[in-house]
Symmetry: C2
Subunit: 134 residues, 2 copies
């Protein structure tokens, strides 16, 4: 239930992205129960290459200490790609909660090898939302 | 000599960053002899977490095809960290030329494991520039 609450916020970001004409993938970065960064895929809206939802949330969270990253949880509606996973490992984020990994399976083995805990909520609604809008 | 020419442009970006009060690390992304993206570390200037020089150059290059990334060379004045290296692998960039790796050694083994060619020009001037201004 704890994870569902924050994933709901990541889903709101995905839905907001869709309403902007973008790819519906959203993320939030949560530090000890507080959302410190919200983000959504900005490929369409900002013509961005690097602003996947996770990167957007991390950037919007601002500069944080290593200890803050270590205590943070990344919520994302889609399994994190190699770019986002590299960033997660680089910053020292230790837990990633995804809504699903059927539309794309990211660098999950890489994350596990770097001792990042992965939790897949396996949400049908997000599989369908992205499948229908990509 | 070929690589030196483009590294010179990455060094110009690093020097530009320094003149702005930033961390002197620069990059250029080169596609078949043409610079398609220039970048520099934006930690100070834009208070950015994710805009390392390589990420800035990639973003400034705009959206490119997989084939364009595969034919591109990333020049960077410092060995690429795990975030930038994850991005390089994600996009399919196959060659990275660095000026040095003594101020920080990035995810070089990771890049090699993903068949990215690494070339270290081992430039004393860049070791000194970053060492004196970080």
């Amino acid at each position: 239930m704890y994870h569902q609450k924050y994933m709901r916020e990541a889903i709101k970001e995905a839905e907001l992205g869709l309403s902007e004409g973008g790819v519906p993938i959203g993320s939030v970065l949560v530090l000890e129960g507080k959302i410190i960064g919200r983000g959504r895929n900005q490929r369409v809206q900002k013509h961005s290459v690097i602003l996947h939802a996770e990167m957007d949330a991390i950037e919007n969270a601002g500069q944080r200490t290593p200890e803050e990253y270590q205590r943070s949880i990344m919520y994302t509606t889609l399994s994190a790609c190699q770019m986002c996973s590299g960033t997660i490992v680089y910053l020292g984020i230790r837990t990633v909660v995804m809504a699903e990994n059927e539309n794309a399976r990211g660098a999950e083995e890489f994350l596990k090898e770097h001792n990042v805990e992965l939790i897949n909520l396996d949400l049908s609604e997000m599989k369908e939302l992205l499948r229908s809008n990509r």
